[in-house]
Amino acid sequence: MSGRRVLLTGLASYWGGRLAQALEGFEQIETIIGVDADDPTMELERTEFVRVSNRHGLIQRIVRAAEIDTVIDARLIVNSVAASSRVTHENNVIGTMNILAACSGPGSPVRKFVFKSSAHYYGCEQDDPSFFTESMRRPHPPHTALERDIVDAESAVQDFAVKTPEVEVTVLRCANVLGPDVDTAFTRMFSLPAVPMVLGFDPRVQFVHEDDVVHALEHAALNSVPGVFNVAGDGVLTLTEAVGLLGKTYLPILPPYGTGLIAGPLRRLGLRIPNEMWNQLRFGRGLDNRAYKAAGFHYGYTTREAVMRFGEHLRLSPVMRGGEHEYTYEREVEEFLRWSPHVQRDREGAEADREPLGI
C-alpha cells in the first residue's frame, strides 16, 4: 500500500497527539488528518486538524472527501476519575458507534480500523486466570460503569469487524500504562509520597511503557495485523515489588472490606481511587502478551523497566520542573505554517529539534 491516508480520532487526547507525532515520521503515510472536539495539545508538523464532534455524518464526509483508508481510534477513556461517567459513556460508547458508522456504508474507502481498547475489558476478579489471553472473556459481568462502557465499545467494534469483512480490524487491549508524560490512575498513585495499598493484599501488576503503546498503535497502522491483541510489558510484578523499584514506601491503609465506605473520606483527602481499580488493588491482573509478539511487535521495555524508568522520572521531576514550555494550539499560526507559500518546507533536519521518540 503506497500513500496511506490516515484519520486519527481524539487528536487532542494524549494518545492521539503522540500517535500523530509518531506517524508524521513515516514517509509512506501521505496524509494524516486528526479530528477532535478540542484543540490539539501537542505540537504537530503536518497533521491536519479538523475540529469536529463525534457526529458520524461529519466524520463520514471527511473520510470520504479525503479518501481515508486507515482509521485509528485511540480516544477511549480508561480512567473513571478523568471524566464524569456521562462524558465517559458518551465518548466511549456513543463516540465509538459514531466513528464506526462513519467508516461503514457502501463505497466507504476505509480498509483498516485500529482500536485502542483496555485491559479493563477483562475486569478483575478473584477467580480470574493469572494470565488473560485474548480468547478469554471476562468471567463475570462488569460492575463498574467504565468497564461496562469498554465492553460495549469493544463489542461494537467486533460487530463491525464481522459485518464489514473488507475492513481489517485490529483491537489493542493495553495494560496499565506508565511513563513520564501520560496521566493514568497508577502514575498518580505512584506519584504520591507513599503508595497506598489494600491491607493484606499484594496484587500482581503489569505495566506497559507509554512509548510501547505508541509503537504498538503504529505497528498496527503500518502492518497487516488483524485481530485482538493484548499490549503489556513482559513480566508481572507484585505491587510491593513495583513500589520497591520506585524507591517509595507503601502504606497498607486501605481496608480490605467496606471499601465503598472509605472511598468518600479518601476523596476528601485528595486521593481518588477509580472504582475499576479497587479490585485490581486486591486481586491484580496479568496479561499474556505473546500474540502481539508473534505478530511481529517488539517491546522496548519490560514491566520492570517501565517501572524503573518511571521511578527515574519521579526523582528527576522536582529538578526539571518548569523547564518545558506548554504548547497551545493557535489556529492562525498552524495554518500559516502549513499553507503559506513563504514557509521553507524542505529544510533539512526539521525533525531534529523535537524530542526523539522512545529511548
Binding site: Q126, D127, D128, P129, S130, F131, T133, E134, S135, M136, R137, R138, P139, S155, Q158, A161, V162, V169, V171, V198, L199, G200, F201, D202, R204, V225, P226, G227, V228, F229, D234, G235, V236, L237, T238, E241, P256, R282, F283, G286, D288, N289, R290, A291, K293, A294, A295, T302, R304
Partner: protein, 305 residues
C-alpha cells in the same frame, strides 16, 4: 468405599473455565514458541506468578524443615516416577484442616529427587479473597487452580504442578472418612494434562489424615466467619488461628505411582473425548485408592509407621 457422587447429569459450575470470547477477531498464536515467553529477569526475587524465593526459603528452612524431618519423619518411594524435565502434573489425595500434604510433597521432591524442581501447588481461588493469606499464598509457590494457569505452567513453562482433584471435599472430610477418596472433580485435571501433553503422576500420601483430623464442622461459625469451613480439630479453634498448625506427629509415607503419558492417550487432540477423560480420571482415582489401602495394610503404627 465412599458413596459415589459422580453422575452424568452433573450441574455446570460457572467457575470451571473462562468462557471463550467472540472468536471472529482472534489472532492465531503459535503453539510452541518459547522465545515469545517473557524472559527471566535475574535481578528479580519474584517470578511472574508472585512466587518469592526469599519467602519460600524462610519457610522451607524453618517450619517446613522441622515438620518434614522431625515431626512427620517423611518417607518416600517411587521418586523415579517424577520426571526430571518437561511438564508433569502430580495428582494426590488431600486431607487435613490446613492441609500439610502440599508442603510435604514439595519438600520431598526438593530433598530426595535427583533433579529437584520447584512444585507449583494449585489452590482454591478463595484464598485470593482472604487478606493476609492472599499475600502469602502465591509467595510460597501456590497458584489459583484455573485451567488456564495449569496449562501455562505445564505446557509453556514445563513445570511440575501439584493438583488435588478432590479439592475442598478432601480437606473437609471428617476423621471417620479418612483415606476414602472423594469425587475427582470433573476430570478437569486430566483435560489440562492432555491439552498440555504432560505426564500425569499419581501419588498417595499416608499420615496427613491423622496429623490433622477433623472431628466435626461448626457450620454456624463458618457462616459467621465466612471461612471456607470451620473445622473442630484437636487444636482448633481452642488455640486460635495458630491451632490450624497444631499437627499431631503422625508418620508420613508418600508413594509416587507410575506416570501416565498423555501423549499415548491421544494428547491434545483427544481432549474433547469426555469418555476418555472420565475413564482416565477414574483409573487414577482407583490406583491411588488401591495403593492407599496397600500402604495402610502394611502400616503397623500411625505414629511410627
Amino acid at each position: 468405599m465412599a458413596p459415589e457422587r459422580t453422575s452424568l447429569a452433573r450441574p455446570v459450575e460457572p467457575d470451571e473455565q473462562t468462557a471463550p470470547g467472540d472468536d471472529a477477531l482472534l489472532p492465531a498464536v503459535p503453539e510452541d514458541a518459547p522465545e515469545l515467553m517473557p524472559a527471566v529477569e535475574p535481578e528479580r526475587r519474584l517470578d511472574d506468578w508472585g512466587r518469592s524465593e526469599r519467602v519460600e526459603g524462610i519457610f522451607d528452612r524453618t517450619i517446613v524443615d522441622f515438620f518434614y524431618r522431625y515431626w512427620f519423619r517423611v518417607e518416600a518411594e517411587g521418586l523415579e516416577n517424577v520426571p526430571s524435565e518437561g511438564g508433569a502434573l502430580l495428582v494426590s489425595n488431600h486431607s487435613g484442616a490446613l492441609p500439610p500434604d502440599a508442603a510435604v510433597i514439595n519438600k520431598v521432591i526438593k530433598e530426595e529427587h535427583p533433579h529437584p524442581r520447584p512444585v507449583h501447588i494449585t489452590v482454591e481461588h478463595f484464598f485470593k479473597g482472604y487478606p493476609g493469606f492472599s499475600m502469602l499464598i502465591p509467595k510460597i509457590g501456590c497458584v489459583a487452580a484455573h485451567p488456564a494457569n495449569v496449562h501455562r505452567l505445564l505446557h509453556d513453562e514445563r513445570k511440575l504442578v501439584l493438583v488435588f482433584p478432590e479439592g475442598r471435599k478432601g480437606t473437609e472430610k471428617l476423621y471417620r472418612d479418612r483415606y476414602r477418596l472423594r469425587r475427582f472433580g470433573r476430570g478437569g485435571f486430566v483435560e489440562a494434562a492432555m491439552r498440555a501433553e504432560a505426564q500425569l503422576v499419581p501419588l498417595c500420601v499416608v499420615g496427613a489424615e491423622e496429623a490433622a483430623p477433623i472431628f466435626a464442622h461448626a457450620d454456624f461459625m463458618q457462616r459467621l466467619t465466612g471461612l471456607l469451613y470451620f473445622p473442630i480439630t484437636p487444636t482448633f479453634p481452642w488455640l486460635g488461628p495458630l491451632g490450624m498448625l497444631g499437627y499431631l506427629p503422625a508418620k508420613f509415607k508418600i508413594r509416587f505411582l507410575e506416570p501416565i503419558d498423555t501423549r499415548e492417550l491421544g494428547g491434545a487432540a483427544a481432549v474433547d473425548d469426555k469418555a476418555l477423560v472420565q475413564t482416565v480420571s477414574q483409573e487414577i482415582r482407583a490406583r491411588i485408592q488401591d495403593n492407599l489401602h496397600d500402604m495402610l495394610a502394611k502400616r503397623k503404627s500411625v505414629w511410627f509407621g
